[in-house]
């Protein structure tokens, strides 16, 4: 996993609440057996007009947001389906950071597995930012994971909260499975203790 330290990047705004992962990437793109190449499915239904041509009002179709690495959006982003194809598609498009007042739990978790930093700012911080981004060509923010801050071009700084364990894993780009496997002795000890208490849990599920 690519580590996340600081990022200064172009910001793209998605001014909608409750964006579900069916919108982030619709079902027809879930048939792949790969993690890559999912960019074409990102916000697929929202990118097009009814006749199938690109919708010029949708942010991903606007030249000014090409190359954006930070997505700024609203409450409850990523709700619904657990599909990790959602962060894969966002990453494939180039997004490394998503800022919103709140995220759905599974999506929030999935971001950390893929080197994407989800940042929770207050709604009263996000709304003016969306306005600034929309009104200012080439608007960039700086996100600093170590100091847990988001800084605007004018130098205003917002602090965000994040679990220290998640922060450190992302900051160092650690392999989560490798990390857990360092505790194999503890897992084995748990299993033998548990097997004595609840042996039925260790029956083979092969029918």
């Amino acid at each position: 996993m690519e580590r996340f330290t600081t990022l200064t990047g172009l910001v793209a705004p998605l001014d909608r609440v409750n964006v579900d992962t069916d919108q982030v990437i619709p079902k027809q793109f879930l048939k792949t057996i790969k993690r890559t190449g999912l960019r074409e499915g990102l916000f697929f239904d929202w990118r097009k007009l009814k006749d199938g041509s690109p919708d010029p009002s949708f942010f991903l179709n606007q030249p000014r947001y090409q190359g954006a690495t930070i997505l700024l959006t609203r409450d409850n982003f990523g709700c619904g389906s657990s599909r990790e194809h959602a962060p894969w598609a966002l990453l494939d498009q180039g997004f490394r950071c998503i800022i919103a007042p709140s995220f759905a739990d599974i999506f929030y978790n999935n971001c950390f597995q893929n080197g994407i930093l989800p940042v929770v700012l207050k709604a009263e911080e996000v709304l003016p930012l969306i306005k600034d981004v929309t009104e200012t060509l080439g608007y960039r923010l700086t996100v600093d994971l170590h100091h847990q801050t988001v800084t605007t071009p004018k130098g205003t700084t917002f602090r965000f909260e994040i679990d220290p364990f998640r922060r450190d894993c992302l900051y160092r780009g650690l392999d989560a499975i490798g990390l857990t496997l360092q505790h194999e002795d503890a897992i084995a000890a748990y299993e033998s203790r548990r097997k004595a208490e609840a042996p039925w849990l260790f029956s083979d599920v092969h029918p």
Binding site: R35, T180, V205
Partner: protein, 467 residues
């Protein structure tokens, strides 16, 4: 020492170790796997040269992509076929039990877990699917995970988790006649909103919950995620034990007796505290119909479509306007005035034998409206077989419903069962997101009884007063 909630008891008995900030390495007893969210997990194992820690704790089944028409014809969509073949290959390579497409036990992953006795009280169960919350109906801690975590559990039988908060949702009283678990959960989501449960595990309590059958409890827990909660649960009782006893993967003999004794402890202590409690009265719950583009946009069938012009909150107003435009509905129109084109009875929410029995009882001797195409998709091959033994398939067919093979089908329309743009569907599934059942399709979430009545009348009706 303060008492523990049901959740606390299960969580505490699965802690392998805890980091200084409270991040926990949680042991996972069992994992269910399907074709859509697993190929990249198996690929990851292969690339890292890792093997599953306990392949005997994992059960796999294809469900999302499978055709619901004649299986002997194979899968016309080559990409879907490859995904299903990949699941079969991976299960073979890694020694994982699989019910393939021609197996009578094949079905929706959340239907077959309970059906096989794989789902047990007090366990931790995960699956790369958000509706894993279904299994909480047995007093298990069951939640959906992403594909990286599927790989993590395969490799380590553990997950790194932050302890969630607890929410009690208490529903007391008696439901109106013909109202069901689906109406309870839709009413709950209407009340707490789609993010109301974010960060929480829900325990459903109260007399109306304990009166539900196991199938009803599964419907209830299934949609916890639509309220934002990754997991929902109901404390096990004698119904739970009766349901599990004798199922193929359930413990047998002395082990079963020992397990039942352990399960007796799985209830919230009287002096335990939840972080938050929400209450509803069963008598107040009308048959529910969703009108918008998320499951929180839901009302009783006797209500009218909301009017954004009367809303002061900018967020709600904009979301309502957008939803009504997508759904092609006008403010203030009565819900019973909404005409439908399609009816889908199925999904991990409502495709179990009890759902089909109930739906058939309303369809018996009636005819689907000429303007409506209606289909019934059983949750598993065994549910289908049972329904056919009871003659339910005949009842449905005679009424004009299509009777299909088991799978996820039009709940998410990954197979050939898809709404066309603008088509309107009364669906017993769990999500009414834009395009969920097909690009441009319009979904109204309802109970099986409400879906049947809508199929026959061609529009929504109040099932309480329907003859």
């Amino acid at each position: 020492m303060a008492g523990k909630t049901l959740f606390d008891k299960i969580w505490d008995s699965h802690v392998v170790r805890t980091e200084p900030d409270g991040t926990t390495l949680l042991y996972i007893d069992r994992q269910l796997v399907h074709e859509v969210t697993s190929p990249q997990a198996f690929e990851g194992l292969k690339l890292a040269g890792r093997r599953p820690r306990r392949s005997a704790a994992t059960l796999a089944v294809p469900d999302h992509n499978v055709p619901t028409t004649d299986r002997r014809l194979g899968i016309a969509d080559h990409v879907s076929a490859l995904q299903i073949q990949t699941l079969e290959d991976n299960c073979k390579d890694f020694g994982i039990a699989l019910f393939n497409m021609s197996d009578i036990r094949q079905g929706i992953v959340h239907v077959i877990g309970p059906e096989q006795g794989f789902t047990l009280p007090g366990t931790t169960i995960v699956c790369g699917d958000s509706h894993t919350s279904t299994h909480g109906a047995f007093g298990a801690l069951a939640f959906g995970i992403g594909t990286s975590e599927v790989e993590h559990v395969l490799a380590t039988q553990c997950l790194v988790q932050k302890r969630p908060k607890t929410m009690e949702i208490r529903v007391d009283g008696t439901l109106s006649e013909r109202c069901s678990a689906k109406d309870i959960i839709l009413a709950i989501i209407g009340k707490i909103g789609t993010a109301g449960g974010t960060g929480y595990v829900i325990e459903y309590t109260g007399s109306a919950i304990h009166a539900l059958s196991m199938e009803g409890r599964m419907t209830l827990c299934n949609m916890s995620i639509e309220g934002g909660a990754r997991a929902g649960m109901v404390a096990p009782d004698e119904k739970t034990i009766a349901y599990i006893k004798g199922r193929p993967l359930a413990p047998k003999g002395d082990l079963f007796e020992m397990a039942v004794q352990g399960w007796g402890q799985l209830k919230t202590d009287t002096d335990a505290k939840y972080d938050v409690t929400v209450t509803l009265e069963a008598e107040q719950i009308a048959p529910q119909v969703s009108w918008g583009t998320n499951p929180g946009m839901v009302l009783g069938v006797d209500q009218n479509i909301p009017d954004p012009r009367t809303m002061s909150d900018e967020k709600t107003k904009n979301a309502t306007e957008r939803a009504l435009a997508y759904m092609g509905l006008s403010p203030n129109m009565p819900i019973t005035g909404i005409a439908i084109d399609k009816v889908f009875i199925g999904s991990c929410t409502n495709s179990r034998i009890e759902d089909l029995r109930l739906a058939a009882s309303f369809a018996k001797g009636k005819k689907v409206a000429k303007t409506v195409q209606a289909m019934v998709v059983p949750g598993s091959g065994l549910v289908k077989q049972q329904a056919e033994t009871e003659g339910l398939d005949r009842v449905f067919r005679e009424a004009g419903f299509e009777w299909r093979e088991a799978g996820c089908s039009m709940c998410l329309a990954m197979n050939a069962d898809v709404l066309k743009p603008g088509e309107r569907c009364a669906s017993t599934s769990n999500r009414n997101f834009e395009g969920r059942q097909g690009a441009g399709g319009r979904t109204h979430l309802v109970s099986p009884a409400m879906a049947v009545a809508a199929a026959i009348e061609g529009h929504f009706v109040d099932i309480r007063h329907w003859s």
